[in-house]
Amino acid sequence: MLTRRSVTTGASLVMVAGLLAIFLGALLFQPGLTYARDIKVGIIDCYSGPPAVYSKDALNGFKLALKEINKKGVLGKKITFTTRDTKFKVDLALSMAKQLVMREDVDVLAGIINSGAGLAVSEAVAKKEKVPLIVWIAKSERITGEKGHRYVFSTGENTAMAGKAGGVALSKRPYIKYWIAGDDYEYGHALAKAAWRNLKKLKPEVKLIGKSWWKPGEPDLIPYITSILAAKPDAVIFCTGGRSMTNIMKAIKATGMAKKVAIYIHTATDHAVLKPLGAEAPEGVMGTMDYHFYYPDTPENRAFVKAFRAAYGNPPGFPAFHGYITAKFIAKAFEKAGSLDKEKFIDAMEGLKISSPVGVIEMRACDHQAVLPMFFGITRKSPEYGFVISSDIVTLKGDEVMPTCEEIMQARKGK
């Protein structure tokens, strides 16, 4: 016996009511069709949860650029944007991206910090619905590499570039015995692979004596460090990101590791990582970044930092820089395309050059990856700022750290 035999009666009534509500809602809120409207950018990113620090920074950079752009307008229109929160969940990212494309009818999708979400949206929304997607923080090299296609772009540095930068910089140092450790997810592995491949190519005598991987966000990294130190490597490459960064920096400080071995971590010199640590940030750790608000000390960068500070109260981090150049790319590409046509926009994006706080940046035509320089530095306490910053900065030019177009095409064919 079923507990309730009148189930369907109730079910039906409720569902009919629900459906009617949806119908009405849909009819009422159906956004207007294409008449003289603004250029709409749909931003999907994680605005709640741990990575929100980065996504909000990126959005601020984007907004700052829009303020400048909308003074003149693009094609006689304004660029507007609407944001959707993904909560760092892939399924929500997909559903929100589809909502922006299908319901809000956006011209361009942008954002995404989460590589998994980036790849999913790139395949299931951008490629399928033929809408350009510009990923601005997610660092998986597969987004514009192996899994790249006509509709996806990236304005952030990716693991291949960061890894190559690390490899190039480390090859100039005397270390032979290396240990690689990091977060056990795409980002960590890709970074490790790229760094090691390039280091080995430039300096064949290096030896990898061990590897360790941990769960991203693992609270206690000290056991890993003790076992690494026990193996006595010359240098350690940590491939950590997000919230593990704070943990690993704290663990390095607590164990005094930086005094015993050389350490390289991509983004170790990032302001967003170093500032909250304050005096707990270890000194003497090598790191790479594609943007610092204090470097390069050019008039363009100073002007950008000044405007950003005035608007949001704090200096821009690397995501703000990515958001800023994304807006610049979008505006310039639409201008060049001369219409809101998505295919023309993509054609215009390919090979497009814009001026930015760190100089001219090109959107490489072959893989839709922005060519960004990398700044290699060492953490050191700064009397000027009162916390640890990157010092002894060496600039690695964009073409020096990017995988070549041939390598990219090889990876795409190989899949």
């Binding site: 369907t8 039906s12 009534l13 569902m15 629900g18 849909a26 997909l94 999913a120």
Partner: protein
Amino acid sequence: MKKIEFKITLILIALLSLIPLVLPRFYIYITATIFVTALLAMSLNLVVGHGGLYQFHHGVFYGVGAYVTALLILKAGMPFWAAFILAPIASTVTGFLIGWFCVRLSKLYYGMLQISLGSLIWAIAFRWYSLTGGDDGLHGVTIPDLISSTRNAYYFTFIVLLASLWILYAILRSPFGTTLQALRDNPERCEAIGINVRRHQLAAVVIATFFAGVAGALFVVIEQSVFPDLLFWVLSLEVFIMCLLGGWFTFAGPILGAAIMVSLRTFVGTYTEYWTLVLGIILILLIFFLPEGVMGFFLERLGKPRSRQNGNDKAGASVGSR
């Protein structure tokens, strides 16, 4: 099924099959998502609402269904249809293995053992980088053209959902279903009259996990992606909530619960980043004012004569689960 109920069901089916002709694409997609989620919640309710088991990590079987579909297509190069049939079978096997260990325990211990076994599967999927893509998951699963457009995917999930619901309904009305509910209400007495409690519970788990696997495969049809969140315990709890929200002593309650949850997070999530807060408050209101779920509440209003008898059923159930 009574005549009027039958008629209303038919009208409902007709209305739902008209949706793609009337509504904009996004709503078609969301309704399809609701169908998939509803099937998952329905399958869970078979063991929770009707079986009285603390199935705390049902999402794992959904995730296994989705992962197996994606893996068979992407890594083994199988055609979609073969994967679509094999995935629920894989879920069922997983369900049998996990269930076999779990049904020996009762109540909270059942739930806890299931969470740890489920977390083991999650941990493996999360870590087995070369196979599952780790935390990135697998994307761009190729779906046959026939069902890849939003509208066709809608119809496909709709048909599968209807077929599954029909089977679930038949199961619940069968002698097996009746026994299962008797087990929930009074396990001691059932055991005394010679019913093998564990075997019945295991069978229920196996059936439920099969449909969870079907839902997982359907998820891949709609999203073409799989990722470890599908196996994480938070999702399982959400599905559990859907059952309670809709009304876990009713047949169709979980469908309503799924519809409410999916709509909430899609539409409330658009306007505020604090949608979990909204959900939490709704849940608390529900606990205090609608303890039998939304569906239970409406049925009480509509079907007065029968509700009293059902009230007794429920009282029996709550005593049983204490």
